[in-house]
Amino acid sequence: MKYLYTLMFLFSFCLANAQAPGYLGKKTFIEYDLFYMLAVGGPTTNNKMYAYDNLGISYRHNFTLNHVVSRSGVIGLGFDFFNTGIGVDYRDSEDNFQSKFSKLKVTAICLHYDKYFMKRGSLAPFGFYHHFEGKYITGSAQEDAFKDVVHKTFYTGYGIGIKKIFKEKFFVNFSGQVGWTWGDRSLDTFNDSFEKNVQTRINKRIYSHYIFENNIGIGILLF
């Protein structure tokens, strides 16, 4: 229930500011973004093991519901998901050194605010914008051996982008984004507990996934 209250609170000020033209009065839109980045510092979903030697591209899918709150501002609530992989080195119960790959499923609830460059003639929701984003990320390893380990963390990011409308209703979005995932990433394979070890691996993977991304998106104006 508290999440619902938080959402209601966040959207309440959208309605308070009537001086938000949107696009010809249309202020709400949905958007799908495909983020892509070089898979550095870890395996991709299809890599069985580390991808240091191979150039791979990782993807992330993002769906958002957005609302224009002022002439230069848009807030949005989104959902992120992507699959990737982690490789974990650990000692098993018999103190043997093990190295295992696992698929990693990551989901996130995102909240963002886009600030449009009014000095460059942009008017929310189209034109150039700054993007500020916060996420609550959940990453869970899919391998049976790690299944009980779920890593949760926060993310803050900044991006810059441009949205261009076409056919009066649709738009494309290009943006680039950098971000920081919170949490402890110091790793001591030999001394850390198994769970800590997996958690750190997941965090490191998520961190390297989110640190710099490019994006192509498409969206539709609703009302």
Binding site: A18, Q19, P21, Y23, L24, G25, S70, R71, S72, M118, K119, R120, G121, L123, F126, G127, F128, I162, K164, I165, F166, E168, F174, S175, G176, N214, I216
Partner: protein
Amino acid sequence: MRYILCLVATLWTGMVFAQHQNSFSPLVSVNPVPDDFVVPSGEKYQEEIKKISCHAHHQSQTDQQKFYLESCFVIDDLLHSGNVLFNDPLTIYLNKIKDVVLETQPKIRDQIRVYAVRSPVVNAFATNNGIILVNMGLVARLKNEAQMAFILAHEISHYTQDHALHLYMDDVQTQRERQKNPVGKDANETLLTENKYSKELEISADAEGLKMFLKTDYDINEIDGVFDLLKYAHQPITDIPFDTQFFESTYFKFPNEYYLQEIETSYGLNEHNEDSHSTHPSIGKRREQMYDNLKGRTYRKLEDFLVSEQTFNKMKTQCQYELSNLYLREFNYYESIYNSYVLLHQESVMDDTYLKKNIAKALYGLTKFRNKDRDHETEGSFENEDGEIQRLYYFFNHMKNNELNVLALQYAWKLMRTYPDDDEMKKIANDLFQEMVDNHYESETEFYDKDHAEKYAPFNSFSQPSSTRKSDLKKFEREFIKYAFVDIIKDRGFSEAFKVCKRKKDKNLKADLMDQHKTARQIRKETKKKERELIKKGYALGLDKVVVVNPYYMKMDFRKRDNQIDYLSSEMSEEQYTKWVEKNAKAVGLETQMLSTNLVEYGEAEKMNELMYVTEWFNQQLELEEIKMRGFNQERVIEIADKYGTDHFLWTGIVSGRKKKSIMGFLTFLYLHPAYSAYYLTHPAYESMFFSIIVNVRTGEMEMTKMNPLFEKDSKSVVNAHLYDTFLQIKKRPK
């Protein structure tokens, strides 16, 4: 009783008639609106290019197309400027003279259309499509109809011989040759070549015009008068002595040193001056050529007037009266005062109120510009003038700022007293009062009243001193300005006006003092904060209706030399933009009234007149905003505002152009965002500017000034988004 009633009725009729006779009204256009003003420029262009011979060289065809394109749009811009009149008495009269000149050539007669232009410059010119424009400044100086007939014949010859096209083609050819061989000719040489050809065309037009003129019954001797007119074109309509007594009263006398005793006699322009840098031959050459052409000819019956002498005199007087106002419009205040002065000293004065009001307005303008140290924009030196107007220049050149302000106020105050219902004069007098208190005198005690004047003023004029001692005279010369308000200082409201203005001054000073305590950083911070607030929240004007004046659209190509204008595309975009304006205003529930030259139909001459006044007023506002001066012709604009039921007028438009792409930009995107770099590479780059200005025509205040640079294409969506936003801000009620 019956006789008394009859007498009263007769007197009343007489008074009404007298009033009618004595009131001047400027010329305005009358229905129906001619095709020249209604048909879109693009359509005219399509018609014009049919004239191009398909056998012509390809380059020549392209050049001709360019010429017709530019000329169609430039001429239409002029026609839509509000300065060109149609179906008014002057235009009708000029067309009648044209009909006489072309009596034997009915085909050409039907092709030529003559229009009067509201301009004080002595000029007439012909366009390639058969339009001849005659400035009021020219008509005001003509001696008779025969002179006008010769000028029209000359201009008609330019049209029949296609001079505009020939001149353009020659110009293009010369430029092209220069580009091919840049070391061969320098810019000066190219200019001389172009001017030489232009002069040949003028001589040719004189000769052809003469042939045309000789077919009429107009007096051939009057042609000489036309050249005299050109010789003295820079001078006022009449050269009469200017006496400073015009501005004096019983006790208010200007010192002798303000009066120029000797003037340089005017001999007009040098007829045989060096003309290599001019597009026209010297007057002397033209005169000689004309005499050569006339040698050995016999003349028939000679007439100065064939259409109507009475109409000529009426139109000439009308134009002379118009000049006073036209000079004001061009901030040429000295000329305006002198023109009104000359007309006030004529035997029969048509409308002295109008002339006096023009003088008051000119003095007001001079004062405002002087007090803001911008007098160099409106005033010239007497040394550059010749003739009697030198005295007027000398008089004002020598007058100090405080003296000019006092003189302007005294003149305006007296007029306001004579015409108490005149709001415009009241506002001017009040503003001049504030100027005086702000800049020069704060209290009425700084001026003498009648008692003091009668007691101490020992003479009636500095130029005619009585037996008063020299030292006393010098003292009074020094103090002459203190006698300015002797006649009005006891007027109701005069003393109160001082107090009101002083209070306002103190209030402003207080605010300024508060600002002085702030550091430059604080002021910058506050200004930025205000700007941020405005960008974030936008305006909230709370209006229900606006008059949209001439929605504007210009498409350019910034990649080409001189940022080439795409005329055809601009016209189409303007039409589309007008529709978008209406659509978006409707979407936010804002009522609009369109006042656009593009929408004027055949029966809407009134709209053209309204556009003329509104555009003229707005241009003045833009010029005068910095010096916080009221534009003239305010009453007419308010009448228009009353008619449409709103005081708020909107000027909006877009200037958009394609620009060069930056290689650095592409490389940056390629590195940071490869997908966007592909988009950047495949799409042309544009830059646009969207503007919207809302002016309250009653207060003169600009309530909204939006200038949005758009770093993207002016697509339908982008333009509509900005229009919608603008109208939303206009409509939104302030909290």
